[in-house]
């Protein structure tokens, strides 16, 4: 009678904890999905294809500089002086050439007369003297404000023509993407979009950490309960089965939440063009975020048979087998001598590769991170003309830690199972 009440109490308590764990797990799953989606949208809108790699973007930036240059241009006294000198030189040249042509030996009488009249009337030295005031007039006219405005107009319209002859297909695509993103996040411009995304991501991150802690607390509470009840042999079966359910929740969340996020960006590219700064900011070179489940489905969706084979193996060893083992461990508590159940519960550990997966993911993360870091460091340039800086936001995601939590919890459960059923754990040898 007492056992029954204790049993019911224990199961109710654990059920509440389990419900908590499931709720938090579900929330983490949802948040992780949201985060992934937001980051994907962000990396799409900021993709390097629509920035540094876009001819349209370059054209816009360069034409801005040129427009500034043309509008801000005014002739300095120095330049005026130079212009004067060159106009004078040209005029002197013209005059000298004209006189030389008149001075040519003339054969016809008319020509001879003309030459004489010219010499009588025109003194070439005095004409050369008059070059100075004429040159001054020309330069003054050309450099007058109204004239400059006219020339500027012509220059800008010419540049506009050139701009119209330089384009690619990005601006249209970019517009479409921006429209989609702004509608989705209910903003009007880029700055607001950035701000919304950053604040949302910060909130999601806080919540994820909080829920992950709550979830692990539920699991730890279950383990603590176990420790308290370690003397109550009759309660061990319900406790163990409930713990298996906890492990199952951890496994599901660990499989579906993102594990590694790879995010390589060029934070800024600055260079000087005609004394003006041209800037490209936040160019996403590469972004990927995947859960273990995502990795498996990606492999399975390939056309190539080798990738599919690998996907099947990973699915088998990291998803199906762990689940079957959890079920087998549960069945083991109820069935006495079933060879298949026993084999799966105890011997199949060699084939259960959840622990290997954790090590493998960690290795991938560290290796990829190291290679990316050094590759991006090569892109960091600092000199007078060009400054670039890159960032590498590659990181482990909640899914990894939850999956690691599952692996540890599962190891603890295996150990406990061996202790509470020592006679069954070791197969009797023939």
């Amino acid at each position: 009678m007492r056992t029954n009440i204790a049993n019911i109490l224990l199961i109710t308590g654990l059920s509440i904890l389990l419900a908590g764990a499931i709720y938090f797990g579900y929330e983490i799953h949802k948040l992780a999905k949201q985060q992934q989606e937001i980051k994907q949208d962000y990396s799409l809108t900021n993709s390097v294809s629509f920035g540094l790699f876009s001819v349209d973007e370059w054209r816009d930036r360069i034409s801005e500089v040129l427009d500034d240059q043309i509008n801000g241009y005014s002739i300095t006294p120095d330049q005026k002086q130079q212009m004067l000198a060159s106009v004078e030189k040209a005029l002197h040249g013209v005059i000298a050439k004209t006189i030389a042509s008149i001075d040519k030996p003339q054969k016809s009488i008319g020509g001879k007369l003309k030459k004489m009249a010219f010499h009588a009337l025109v003194d070439s030295a005095s004409i050369q003297e008059q070059v100075k005031p004429f040159a001054k007039t020309i330069v003054q006219k050309v450099t007058s404000p109204s004239s400059q405005a006219r020339l500027k107009n012509i220059a800008s319209s010419k540049i506009n023509q050139l701009e119209n002859q330089t384009y690619d297909n990005t601006s249209e695509a970019k517009e479409k993407i921006a429209k989609y993103a702004y509608r989705k996040y209910n903003v009007n411009d880029e700055a607001a979009f950035d701000k919304t995304i950053h604040s949302r991501l910060a909130v999601i991150w806080d919540q994820t950490i909080r829920y992950a802690i709550y979830m692990l607390a539920c699991v730890l509470a279950a383990l603590a309960l176990w420790w308290l009840m370690r003397k109550q042999v009759q309660l061990q079966t319900p406790l163990f089965v409930m713990s298996l359910l906890f492990a199952g929740v951890l496994l599901v969340v660990g499989l579906t939440a993102p594990v590694i996020e790879v995010d390589a960006r060029i934070r800024s590219v600055n260079f000087l063009l005609l004394g003006e700064k041209v800037t490209f900011q936040n160019q996403v070179l590469f972004f990927q975020s995947k859960s273990i489940w995502g990795i498996i489905t990606t492999l399975l969706n390939q056309q190539k048979p080798d990738a599919i084979a690998v996907g099947i193996l990973v699915l088998l060893f990291i998803v199906i087998l762990p689940f079957i083992r959890l079920v087998a461990k549960g069945l083991h508590m109820f069935t006495e001598k079933n060879r298949v159940v026993n084999y799966i519960a105890f011997e199949a550990g060699k084939w259960d590769m959840a622990d290997v997966m954790i090590v493998g993911m960690l290795m991938t993360f560290i290796g990829l991170n190291g290679i990316l870091k050094s590759q991006l460091a090569n892109l960091n340039i600092h000199n007078d003309v060009l400054t670039t800086s890159t960032v590498n936001y590659t990181s482990l995601q909640p899914g990894f830690f939850i999956f690691a939590g599952y692996v540890i919890f599962e190891a603890a459960l295996s150990y406990i199972l061996k202790r509470i059923s020592p006679e069954k754990a070791v197969k009797p040898r023939k």
Partner: protein
């Protein structure tokens, strides 16, 4: 059982398996050579299609620049509005000059000669008439600027300047280097143009690929034959020892190929660059930014060459899981089976013989994850497709040509085979396996 009866089956089994092993070794050798050749051809291909020979090459730009000069200089055209403005500008200058000349003439003259001159000018020259002709002058000046002959001359001048720049110093040397490279490739593959070379390399690669898969399946067939033999001989305990030791040799062959044949190739390229620059349409396709083909040992080498301690640690771990663990494991299973109880039940031997196998899977997982992250970079494409944007027309970096190689399959087969062998060992060992 007498000695005589157990002797002959053992001999037959050994000979049969030795033959099979020889076949496996032959396949392995072929696979190894083919993998090396494929790597060579692929790297040639990526050299030929490298971005430095395409988008970043002066020669490729030569025609485009000629087109641009043609457009911009030869067909230089002032729009009516611009023409009008320029006309006003020229007229203004001429008017100013006339005014100046008039002012000079009208200056009070002192000498008699000057006075006569002034009179003559005033009599013969009608300034209003001249002024009336100004628009005509201006027009003819502008027509001179717009003259096609002059424009052709200018464009020729620009092209000469550009050609001069091309032949200057550093540009010339890179060009020579590029030409030498292309020449070498053409001679090597007996072709005469880049298109032909690409076609030839493509067909070579696909034939090597199918051949490699044949050998790969051949090797796997040998392994399956060995496992089938275990099934048939499961009752003949007297033969198990010999069979197991020979099975280990098969595993060694698998391991050797799995480690040295290339496992993964990473191919990063710009799929297409398509734009109009100053009226000239420029298209560059498949510009290879980066190409690497790596075996497990190659990956380890790359990681060791990084400066960070973390990368080196990962390299060491991969080395551990791919070479140290497997070799120790195979040796341990042999030792476990052949030695006396005391050695066989040594904890070290037992761990490696029975528990270590799955850790080699860590390498398999690393490559699989790398593959999904780097190789199957379809994310942007999918997103663009969902927004109805054609990704062919955008400048995208893709790594979609990244692929798994036979070395990977062989290595996975080795790991699985090793796990099966240790399961078999557990069943046939006379000692405690736990």
């Amino acid at each position: 059982m007498t000695k005589g009866t157990s002797y002959i089956p053992k001999l037959v089994l050994t000979l049969g398996l030795a033959l099979l092993l020889a076949v496996e070794g032959f396949f392995a050798w072929q696979l190894h050579t083919l993998s090396g050749r494929q790597e060579q051809i692929k790297s040639d291909y990526s050299d030929v299609n490298n971005i430095t020979l395409g988008l970043l090459s002066v020669d490729q730009w030569k025609d485009k620049v000629a087109g641009i000069v043609n457009h911009q200089v030869k067909h230089f055209k002032l729009s009516p509005k611009e023409k009008k403005e320029l006309q006003v500008e020229v007229e203004q200058v001429i008017y100013a000059l006339i005014a100046k000349a008039e002012a000079l003439v009208n200056k009070p003259q002192k000498s008699l000669g000057d006075k006569i001159k002034k009179l003559a000018v005033k009599t013969f020259v009608n300034t209003d008439k001249i002024k009336a002709q100004v628009p005509g002058f201006a027009k003819s000046i502008l027509a001179k600027v717009d003259n096609p002959k002059q424009k052709a001359q200018l464009s020729n001048l620009a092209m000469t300047k550009f050609n001069e720049a091309r032949h200057s110093g550093s540009l010339d040397s890179t060009r020579n280097a590029n030409e030498a490279l292309m020449d070498k490739m053409f001679r090597k593959y007996g072709v005469s143009s880049t298109d032909e070379l690409n076609r030839k390399l493509g067909s070579l690669l696909s034939s090597i690929r199918t051949e490699m898969f044949h050998y790969c399946f051949g090797m796997l067939g040998c392994i399956l034959a060995v496992l089938a033999l275990w099934w048939f001989l499961r009752k003949r305990t007297d033969l198990h020892g010999v069979l197991f030791i020979l099975s280990l040799l098969f595993a060694f062959v698998l391991l050797a190929v799995g480690l040295t044949a290339s496992m993964i190739e990473v191919d990063c390229r710009i799929k297409s660059l398509d734009f109009v620059l100053l009226g000239e349409h420029a298209v560059f396709k498949d510009q290879v930014l980066f190409y690497e083909s790596k075996s497990i040992l190659g990956v380890v080498k790359v990681l060791f060459s990084q400066s960070g301690a973390d990368s080196i640690a990962v390299g060491a771990l991969i080395l551990c899981f791919s070479i140290l663990f497997p070799v120790t494991k195979l040796l341990s299973t042999g030792i476990h089976l052949l030695s006396k109880r005391k050695v066989a039940e040594n904890r070290f031997i037992k761990f490696f013989a029975f528990q270590s196998g799955k850790w080699s899977m860590a390498d398999v997982i690393v490559i699989a994850i790398l593959m999904t992250y780097i190789g199957l970079n379809g994310l942007l494409d999918v997103q663009l497709a969902s927004l109805n944007i054609k990704s062919d027309e955008l400048t995208l970096i893709t790594t979609n040509n990244t692929a798994l190689q036979p070395g990977y399959i062989i290595f996975i087969s080795f790991v699985l085979y090793g796990l099966i062998l240790s399961t078999i060992l557990k069943a046939i060992t006379p000692y405690d396996a736990h």
